[in-house]
């Protein structure tokens, strides 16, 4: 009815398959929170910008190669997953366009979404909480040692992705927009295959542990999401 600007909040969620299938799931659903602003530029097109925020605790489910730690070299090799966990705090920024399908009129109706995603996230771990316990066997003595050599306690990463998806916008009372659908981040989706190709059967070295696991984790959070958004139409 002539209104063009929509501002609102969105909840994104995807099932944490790896958590559910492989481990006891503390968190069977990955969720993200989004704030968005969208502007209808034509009968069939909406330009949008959104920022998603998420916080996640990685429970160190991947194994680490203890022998790979520099200050443990020469000791008997042990493979175990680190104790504790580390936190991931992420922001994902999207610039996207919504292309409305035949018969619909932006910002109402079914649409196809296409855009770019910039993923920025920081990891943080507490060395006193996150460490690896390794066993040293020398002659007849066995010594248990701990180490926490996972690089800087705070690390930052960023990645670009290609976003697409489908959705449907409903408008209630000419003001409230209810939007639902799904999105896919292409590169994040392919992360499964990239990991499979990179997997040489060896455990991760401690200094790569956070970088590799957080990349996979963040990809899992972003690769496929159902969403429900609520907005106000100005």
């Amino acid at each position: 009815m002539g209104k063009r600007l929509v501002v609102g909040y969105g909840l994104y969620a995807n099932p944490a398959f790896s958590n559910i299938l492989l481990h006891d799931a503390d968190n069977p659903i990955n969720s993200l929170h989004e704030f968005f602003v969208e502007y209808t530029t034509g009968k069939k097109f909406v330009l949008g910008f959104s920022a998603r925020l998420y916080r996640y605790t990685y429970n160190n489910i991947e194994d680490v190669d203890a022998n790979g730690a520099s200050n443990f070299s020469g000791f008997t090799q042990h493979e175990t997953n680190p104790n504790g966990s580390y936190d991931i705090k992420g922001q994902s920024y999207q610039l996207y366009g919504k292309l409305y399908k035949a018969g619909y009129l932006a910002p109402w109706g079914k649409y196809f979404i296409l855009g770019l995603t910039l993923n920025r996230y920081q990891t943080y771990y507490d060395p006193s909480q996150m460490y690896v316990t390794a066993t040293q066997n020398t002659n007849s003595t066995t010594t248990q040692l701990t180490f926490s050599d996972f690089g800087l306690t705070t690390q930052s990463y960023s990645a670009v992705d290609l976003l697409f998806g489908n959705g449907n916008s409903r408008i209630f009372g000419n003001r409230i927009v209810l939007d639902y659908g799904y999105t896919i981040n292409t590169i994040a989706m392919f992360r499964i295959f990239i990991n499979a190709l990179e997997d040489d059967g060896n455990s991760l070295y401690p200094e790569d542990y956070i970088q590799k696991t957080s990349t996979t984790r963040v990809a899992a959070i972003n690769r496929f999401n159902f969403f429900i958004k609520i907005g106000y139409l100005f």
């Binding site: 009815m1 002539g2 009968k43 018969g103 009129l105 109402w108 109706g109 409903r170 408008i171 209630f172």
Partner: protein, 725 residues
């Protein structure tokens, strides 16, 4: 010396005063299409949902069976009555309806309480029928009044319809049909139809007998009740059977060949004893017999054919017949319109309206012959004009003439008639327009000035031209001579188009400068628009393609919105139309349109019979005019369908200040498989130019959600206001 003109003036004044006092039309000179007058009845202003609620409450308080079915019926019936009365086709407080009500007064003189329950209306329909609904609504078609031979016949038919009401046949049939459907699983569909028809026939027979009981209490001629069935039996024939005169279209220089006329017309078939197994009414023979047995045992002396008045009856019938000409024209049934107008013109030779109808028919038949007027399965005439071999009695002569006369010759005959009518009634804009259009057609038909004599010879052809050519025929010699001879004979068989019409316009060429100026110098196949009115001019193929895309190129600022439609079907239910929901949704939709129009700054003038006050009778007349225009327009799916019934259109455009009429609506369906579908449409027509300016129609696989309605409505109006360049 001055006494004669003075007396003439006095006579004229007397006639004028008589006409004004009686409120009657002077059919000798003209006819104005029937209009509703006065205050609109309660059905326009009442809250129908409250009425239905009350009806259902009343029903619940009665000790009756099938209450649920009857409640459904009452809902549907109330809406059906409302739709008919508000359609614009129902005449309110007009001369004919007033007359019919006088007959009802006579018939129910001794039963005032029943009289009060009845609402009798005239329906602007060419069908020969009458309908009775519960709640005392009786509708009589114009077609029936035009066919009636006496007032008494009309009175008997009204009595028959009153009996349907008093015996509650409408509601009982609904219940019975539901029962047949419910318990008829073992029987075939055909058997169920026969069972339903049987029940209907029983009701009809009962209404015949009960109607006669009411009728008997009056002083109407009892024999006329029996004769009413004869009248109905032959209702498929024109209201009068008069020979179609060969001389009708002839002028001193224009004598039609005899070959175009049948020496004898076909006989009328007697179907009175036809098999009525699958008919809702018993056949005429049975009905007549049943009534005859009673009537023949009654004393019929001193009984009358007319009680309200014979003169009044004849006037009302003529009025109906005039209106019937218009209705045939609207239905694009040009041969019937022509024949009806022909009959009426024999009685009223100086009636301008009849000249106009005949002119329009002549023009339309020319276009039909050229393939520019077409019919399809949606048309009133599904298969186009009836073949003359299937026409009975005198009208066959006209159909024969139409079939045998080549279209180029029909163009000549049309111009000859229409132009002379234009000269007779120079102030008539319609006649001017059609006359001009025919000049264009002459050019397109490749007729030129050299094809016709322009100098009066001493001996104009007075005999049949076929005979003349036969006299001048030569014996063929060579092969080419033989071919020429064959061709000549073929032409003669058709008409001899080289001779008989040559002098048709000679008097006009000699004495009429306007005619000479307008007549095409030479024939051409190019498009020529000699008319000021695009409605009747021809469009080139390029503009036709443009119109097909139906994207408006002009900013629309003011629109006449016809009653927006909203209808909801649920195929999973017995009564598929969800009347009450549709009604509520329609109200909401009207509001949405108005809101959107304000937002996009389109000025809306709404003509919605559901929103009228009792004093707005003029709007219902306007609604009727526009609906008639659309009826004619949508008679086929051809976008360039010619609209000939346009008398009131110019006045309407002037009144509302816009030629743009928007028809929009939403239909939602819940299918048998519980799928939801919503169909949205919006069409904007320029009724002046007969152009589809804008169209949008879409089907959605969802229910009629408010955001969908808002979005599509807004989009439609926005696109009207902001056309794509």
């Amino acid at each position: 010396m001055y006494s004669i003109p003075f007396m003439k003036k006095i006579n004229f004044l007397f006639l004028l005063v008589t006409i004004i006092c009686k409120g009657q039309q002077d059919l000798k000179t003209n006819y104005s299409p029937l209009k509703s007058t006065g205050q609109l009845p309660a059905v326009f202003t009442q809250d129908i949902r409250k009425v239905i609620k009350q009806d259902i409450t009343d029903l619940k308080n009665k000790k009756e069976s099938d209450k649920w079915l009857k409640s459904t019926f009452l809902t549907a019936s109330n809406y059906q009555i409302e739709r008919i009365v508000r359609s614009g086709n129902t005449l309110i407080n007009d001369e004919i309806t007033a007359y019919l009500n006088k007959i009802v007064d006579v018939v129910l003189k001794d039963n005032p309480s029943l009289r009060k329950q009845l609402n009798v209306f005239t329906l602007k329909s060419s069908v020969v029928n009458a309908y009775s609904f519960d709640k005392g609504y009786i509708f009589i078609d114009i077609g029936l009044i035009a066919q009636a031979e006496t007032e008494a016949q009309l009175a008997y038919i009204i009595c028959h319809e009153i009996s349907h009401y008093t015996k509650q046949h409408h509601i009982n049939s609904y219940v019975k049909n539901a029962e047949i459907d419910r318990h008829g699983y073992g029987s075939s569909n055909e058997e169920r139809i026969i069972e339903k028809c049987q029940y209907s026939k029983e009701n009809e027979s009962e209404a015949d007998i009960e109607g006669l009981k009411i009728y008997e209490r009056t002083l109407y001629n009892l024999k006329q009740a029996e004769k009413a069935f004869d009248m109905l039996q032959y209702a498929h024939l024109p209201f009068e059977l008069l020979t179609f005169k060969k001389t009708y279209f002839e002028t001193p220089g224009y004598i039609l060949p005899k070959g175009y006329f049948l020496p004898e017309v076909s006989a009328i078939k007697d179907n009175s004893d036809e098999d009525d197994t699958k008919h809702t009414h018993p056949n005429t023979k049975k009905r007549k017999q049943a009534i005859g047995e009673i009537v023949n045992n009654r004393d019929n002396t001193n009984r009358l054919n007319a009680i309200v008045g014979q003169e009044k009856f004849e006037y009302i019938r003529d009025l109906s017949r005039m209106e019937l000409c218009r209705l045939y024209l609207k239905n694009r049934d040009y041969p019937n319109a022509l024949y009806a107008a022909y009959i009426m013109s024999l009685k009223y030779p100086s009636n301008e309206y009849l000249a106009e109808v005949i002119s329009k028919c002549m023009y339309a038949i020319t276009l039909y012959d050229k393939g520019e007027i077409a019919y399809n399965s949606d048309s009133n005439l599904e298969n186009g004009f009836t073949s003359y071999t299937n026409v009975e009695s005198f009208p066959q002569q006209l159909y024969h003439l139409m079939a045998k006369m080549p279209e180029n010759e029909w163009t000549i005959m049309s111009l000859n008639y229409v132009y002379r009518q234009h000269k007779k009634y120079p102030a008539n804009k319609e006649l001017t327009t059609f006359s001009d259009s025919l000049f264009s057609l002459m050019k397109r038909t490749r007729w030129g000035i050299n094809d016709f004599a322009r100098i009066i010879r001493k001996e104009a052809p007075k005999t049949d031209s076929v005979q003349v050519t036969k006299e001048t025929e030569k014996e063929p010699g060579s092969k080419t001579d033989l071919i020429a001879s064959f061709l000549q004979k073929e032409r003669e068989g058709k008409s001899d188009d080289t001779v008989y019409y040559r002098n048709v316009f000679v008097d006009l060429f000699v004495s009429d400068k306007e005619f000479s100026d307008k007549f095409p110098a030479s024939g051409s196949s190019e498009t020529s628009s000699g008319s000021d009115y695009k409605t009747y001019s021809f469009s080139s193929s390029t503009s036709y393609v443009k119109k097909k895309s139906a994207k408006n190129t002009v900013k629309i600022q003011k629109v006449l919105l016809l009653e927006p439609a909203f209808i909801k079907f649920d195929e999973t239910k017995r009564e598929e139309i969800q009347y009450i929901t549709s009604d509520k949704k329609q109200e909401e939709y009207s509001k949405t349109i108005n809101e959107c129009a304000k937002l996009v700054e389109v000025e809306l003038v709404t003509i919605d019979p559901g929103l009228l006050t009792a004093a707005e009778v003029d709007k219902i007349n306007d609604y009727s005019v526009i609906n008639d225009w659309f009826d004619e327009k949508f008679d086929t799916d051809r976008e360039q369908n010619k609209i000939l019934n346009t008398d009131d259109i110019d006045g309407l455009i002037k009144k509302y200040g816009t030629p743009y009429v928007l028809k929009t609506g939403i239909a939602t369906v819940i299918t048998r498989s519980a799928k939801k579908r919503t169909y949205f449409y919006g069409f904007l027509y320029d009724i002046k130019k007969n152009e589809l300016v804008y169209k949008r129609h879409e089907l959605f696989k969802s229910k009629d959600r408010q955001d969908l309605v808002n979005a599509k409505t807004y989009q439609m109006l926005y696109e009207l206001r902001n056309p794509k360049k």
